[in-house]
Symmetry: C2
Subunit: 407 residues, 2 copies
């Protein structure tokens, strides 16, 4: 009988703990094949420092259920890149630690970089004849992993973005004066999250009327023309932009702020593209303008979790355990959208080669970016809407959501 | 039989429409004394332009229920200061418009400035022998109105702040590295909303460990000492600050950013105190630092509405109608906390002289600001916690909250 070890890596999401729940719950149900279920504290980096806990021993059934709806990474996370050289002493050390804990199954929940970790460990394991099985469980709000229809964590972030943009539209619409609101959303290279702002629209022509993704070049003069046209049609204009928009020279728009921003102590100041655009609009158009950066709440808010997302996240975890028990290794769990006869959305898990996923990025298809590169197609809406459905019942305490904290 | 007119003014809140619902619902139930219930579009400013709607005729019962949980101001708002001189022609004009619509009851839902409107209209009415009754219904997320225990809108904003700060604490705690997160909250002169961040704490010593309100002077070197001490105790330090913190010279901290911030087009750039502090911490401490501005979502998010708040907002509206029908004018509805024998929280409405409310501000009591002016007392927690209780059932559609839009 072998033991399981599971870790979380990279940035938090609202449902990364849903996947952790899925791994632990499924593993504990296989008492005949699996002994202990260990959790690495702070990912592979913490595990190297011998930081881990026994999930089965230390968590009650009630705590495990609370874990499922707790945002951010319960076990803690890390950003730790494994050596490229598989002969590095790091690998010998870490496999000795696996041996000492009698590990047979390794699960790592994360994005691109985490899949790189799974890839390297599985390749080292294959080289050295280890029988440990290495499985990656996908998570990222960026939705930029390849070979999967979508990624756990994206749907809840998308639902948060769409809900919040809808509220900001209501807020910005209360006055009669002409006003521009620029909402800066996460996404350095892929615009999936910004694209989700289109879901906030109630009808054709409704705000947000301009949406810019990093997949298309962003030119200030082009933006000025788009905005001028929009302001002719309506008083309240909401613009949604990805943090990573850049111009045809490849310069990030936010860098046009950083270049010259120095505070009163003489220090260079970092700012986002929303602030740069706000300033541009104020000076060019002379209208009331505000920029709003949704910031980390996009990835950590538990307020707009999608029930579809949390169930799929848990399913990805349990499928990972099943795949490992079936003998698979060097794989990532991926989602396939199956076309149901009734037209309803349905999703199935499969495994894909983790080496083909790591260090790759999946951008929003260019054909989904419409208008004059300032709008999002209906095809995207059809893709995204099924993912944001349903609201799980949250546990509240003293008027606030009750979450599980590591002791 | 006379008609009602009701308007909304000032910044939006999550429950200002709850008060509108209360006024409309109560007024419609007095069919013997009240005819039409009109709503001013964009407050008194829009009404001057003859913009109004018939709430009873144009809204279905279902739409009225939806209105109750729709954030921001359904009727639109304005920031419009009435002339100080009561002999100005403005007053003659607006009272002629009241006459033309056979108005007998005037309700204005808003904060300080809106109460000033109620005060002036009621004083002009008294001077000219008008029998129109003028009642103010309080609303502000700032909670800075005097003569009332608290103000509708504050509790939901406080609940949003506490919930979001708790999530950001979870997010910021996932890595092992030393890191500082600065959360900038609304409140230019009063720190009620920032104080609510203390509700996010799970136990003594939990984040946010430093909380700064505008009521106390903020000194950079004092802050540096506080932060140094906090970083000795823990790796992850969360700091909550009001946007309006200022130093002993009376200079807003955000102005230390504005002074020298010029973008690459040579334009002066506005920034918040969070960014200024972020930059200060980065340069002084050399640790990872991030600033987060919760921004307009604090006042317009429907995601963390308090059931207590929405019911009290509606009650303020219906009490306003009852007071007007009982012959009162020149009053604002206020909340009194009654000490129940069972220790439970209970609230009653009363009327107060609107002239004593308008243009006044109620700060957080200095005795509730503890530590070295960097913490909040238990007395505040006892005051605020009952207000954020309960979650109303929201109507969802296509995975997003369904709100009522004006046609």
């Amino acid at each position: 009988m072998k033991n399981v070890i599971v870790g979380q890596s990279g940035g938090p999401t609202a449902v990364i703990n849903g996947s952790l729940y899925g791994v632990v719950k499924e593993a504990l149900s296989h008492g005949a094949e699996i002994g202990h279920v260990y959790g690495m504290i702070h990912g592979i980096e913490g595990f190297l420092q011998d930081k881990y806990m026994d999930m089965g021993e230390e968590l009650t059934a009630e705590e495990l259920e609370l874990l499922k709806l707790t945002p951010a990474a319960y076990l803690g996370s890390c950003r730790f890149k494994l050596p490229e050289d598989l002969t590095a002493s790091f690998y010998k050390t870490i496999f000795e630690k696996f041996e000492a804990l009698n590990i047979g199954y390794f699960f790592y929940i994360g994005g691109n970089d985490s899949m790189d970790t799974v890839s390297k460990l599985s390749r080292y394991g294959a080289q050295t004849g280890s029988d440990i099985r290495f499985i990656g469980i996908p998570k990222t709000i960026d939705n930029d992993l390849t070979l999967t229809d979508h990624t756990p964590g994206y749907a809840s972030a998308a639902k948060y973005v769409a809900s919040t943009v809808r509220e900001i539209v209501l807020d910005a619409s209360v006055y009669q004066q002409k006003a521009v609101t620029i909402i800066e959303l996460m996404g350095r290279h892929a615009g999936w999250l910004t694209a989700a702002s289109v879901l906030a629209r109630k009808h054709e022509g409704d705000n947000p009327v301009l949406i810019y993704l990093p997949e298309a070049d962003f030119e200030m003069e082009h933006f000025a023309r788009d905005l001028e046209a929009a302001l002719k049609k309506q008083n309240c204009v909401i613009v949604c932009v990805s943090e990573g928009i850049s111009d045809s020279k490849g310069t990030f728009i936010c860098e046009y702020g950083d270049e010259a921003l120095v505070d009163s102590f003489g220090h260079k100041m970092l700012t986002g593209c929303g602030k740069v655009l706000e300033n541009f609009v104020r000076n060019r158009f002379g209208v009331k303008v505000r920029s709003v950066e949704l910031n980390v709440s996009q990835r950590c808010s538990g307020m707009a979790v999608s029930a579809v997302d949390v169930e799929e996240a848990a399913q990805a975890g349990s499928c990972g355990v099943q795949a490992a028990l079936a003998g698979e290794t060097g794989k990532m769990i991926a989602f396939v959208r199956v076309s149901a006869e009734d037209g309803d959305y349905r999703m199935e898990c499969r495994t894909v080669d983790v080496n083909q996923v790591c260090n790759q990025e999946k951008p929003v298809p260019m054909e989904w970016i419409t208008g004059d590169s300032n709008d999002i197609s209906d095809a995207f809406i059809q893709y995204a809407r099924p993912l944001i459905q349903g609201e799980p019942q949250r546990v509240m305490e003293d008027g606030l959501p009750k979450y599980l904290y590591r002791k």
